[in-house]
């Protein structure tokens, strides 16, 4: 049986205390929310912290509040977010992205904060210790090379959060509680430069709350591509949100891609292109053609990178068609065969 490495466990009651523990222990300590991403990684020895700081006791990080804007406690489970009636009604892309993370039992333990901070993934990295030893380790853990792009000086592990692209598309912010002070940071700025330093959050900061602004007048969606309808991480996520003017022209547009780079990718050129245009079939095709360019899938996830790149274009177009009320091009539902 794969087992966790030994550690001590602390259960502070406030985020400040948690942050202080993290500051005190430095690289030897890690915070844990639902554990659904961290524990598998620890079992494979990607992480061997001496101290785990459990966040379950942080009352300020629990709960879902709706009053115009939406405030999600980072410890809200993905199930709670996905099933919350007001979230479903007013921020449907948030509920949808949460509902598509992994599998039902994982969503009952996994948290929204955890999903925003989920470790980047690569099929050279998400392997057991003996497997990684056998191939000579990669730069993300214990090695020097990026095995998927050996000439690269950065790690190309993929951002694999389903909820992050949506939060960025909705201009959400997070509260980060440090040992001394708190700060608010746009989710757009939460992510770091490569697959190793993938978070801009400091090690000793605790993500306690997620603030999603009111989005009345917006349409939004999230589409996820993966091999199976459950369990799998995204090989592509597309978050799309638009605010249409009275004439049907796009006043604001947000397009954010997941699982195509080391962090979520804002398709800014496509957003810019959409602004002021009528969201018709032709515009959508052109926007999709622009949006897929910054996607950089490599051979480190399921399905071929060429196919994944091509799917960006297809899925962006489908997402926009969904927002425009056009037929998406998805397969029609199965007609119950008799």
């Amino acid at each position: 049986m794969l087992r966790l490495p030994p550690f001590r466990y602390a259960a502070p009651g406030t985020a400040r205390d948690a942050a202080r523990l993290l500051a005190e222990y430095g690289a030897d300590a890690m915070p844990v929310a639902g554990g659904t991403d961290l524990y598998p990684n620890m079992k494979r020895r990607q992480f061997t912290p001496r101290l785990l700081v459990g966040l379950r006791g942080l009352t300020e990080a629990h709960g879902i509040e709706v009053n115009g804007a939406l405030t999600l406690g980072a410890m809200a489970t993905l199930t709670e977010v996905a099933e919350h009636p007001a979230v479903r009604a007013r921020w449907p892309a948030v509920a949808r992205s949460a509902s598509l993370v992994s599998s039902p039992p994982l969503r009952n333990a996994g948290t929204i904060g955890g999903n925003l901070c989920v470790d980047t993934r690569c099929n050279y990295y998400n392997q057991t210790e003996p497997w990684r030893a056998s191939i000579g380790y990669c730069m993300k853990k214990d090695g020097h090379l990026c095995l998927v792009a050996p000439g690269s000086d950065i790690c190309w592990a993929l951002s694999s959060s389903d909820t992050a692209p949506v939060m960025i598309a909705l201009d959400a912010e997070v509260t980060l509680v440090g040992p001394e002070t708190d700060r608010r940071l746009a989710v757009r700025d939460l992510y770091g430069p490569d697959g190793i330093a993938y978070l801009a959050k400091r090690r000793d900061e605790i993500l306690t709350r997620i603030h999603v602004p009111a989005r009345a007048g917006w349409s939004m969606t999230y589409r996820k591509v993966r091999r199976r309808g459950s369990i799998d991480f995204p090989v592509l996520g597309v978050a799309a949100a638009v605010r249409l003017g009275t004439a049907g022209t796009v006043e604001e547009a947000r397009l954010v891609l997941g699982a195509v780079h080391t962090s979520p990718v804002v398709a800014a050129d496509a957003e810019q292109f959409l602004r002021g245009r009528v969201l018709d079939a032709e515009t959508i095709e052109m926007a999709a053609g622009i949006a897929y360019k910054p996607a950089k899938p490599l051979d480190n996830a399921d399905l071929s990178y060429a196919w994944r790149k091509r799917m960006v274009r297809v899925e962006v177009a489908r997402a926009l068609r969904e927002l425009a009320g056009l037929p998406t091009g998805d397969l029609p539902p199965v007609v119950a065969a008799v």
Partner: protein
């Protein structure tokens, strides 16, 4: 290895044991409490085999720490049956929904949680709720039918 004292409420019983804090709920249930009805297929949260209920919700015991389950109600497959089998157990047995039986505890608990919430769950709802549980034997169809049968009997009881 330092052991801590765990106080767990499992299947309605207060259980105490000493275990290293880094042993997962799966390990403690099987190795300390002798509840080997909870199985394991990957220990990485990828198959659903080790599903148990915590406060009525299915979670994966291979990626859960017992210390975080203290004060909560843990239900394993051993806790489903009373003097008689749970309607789900009856239906799984009757319809052949358990072939090798290895994924069965996980499916039963997942289904029990579903029916507690949605007593008239539809086939798509059943498939959605059990989508984290892999089965290699049945092709899932007998499992769906068994959950539907149990639901119907419970509603009519």
């Amino acid at each position: 290895m330092d052991r801590i004292r765990l106080r767990l409420r499992v299947n309605g019983e207060e259980r105490e044991c000493l275990a290293p804090v880094h042993h997962t709920l799966l390990e403690v249930l099987r190795e300390e409490l002798g509840l080997t009805g909870t199985k394991h297929g990957c220990e990485l949260g990828e198959c659903g085999t080790c599903t148990v209920l915590v406060d009525g919700r299915p979670i994966l015991s291979c990626v859960a720490l017992p210390v975080e389950c203290e004060g909560r109600e843990i239900t394993t497959v051993e806790g489903l049956a009373g003097a008689t089998l749970h309607p789900l157990q009856e239906a799984f047995a009757e319809l052949g929904a358990a072939q090798c039986g290895y994924c069965t505890p996980g499916f039963l608990l997942t289904a029990a949680a579903l029916l507690a919430e949605k007593p008239a769950a539809t086939r798509p709802e059943i498939a959605e709720a059990t989508a984290g549980n892999l089965c290699r034997c049945t092709g899932y169809l007998k499992i769906f039918e068994a959950i539907e049968l149990a639901a119907e009997r419970t509603r009519n009881a």
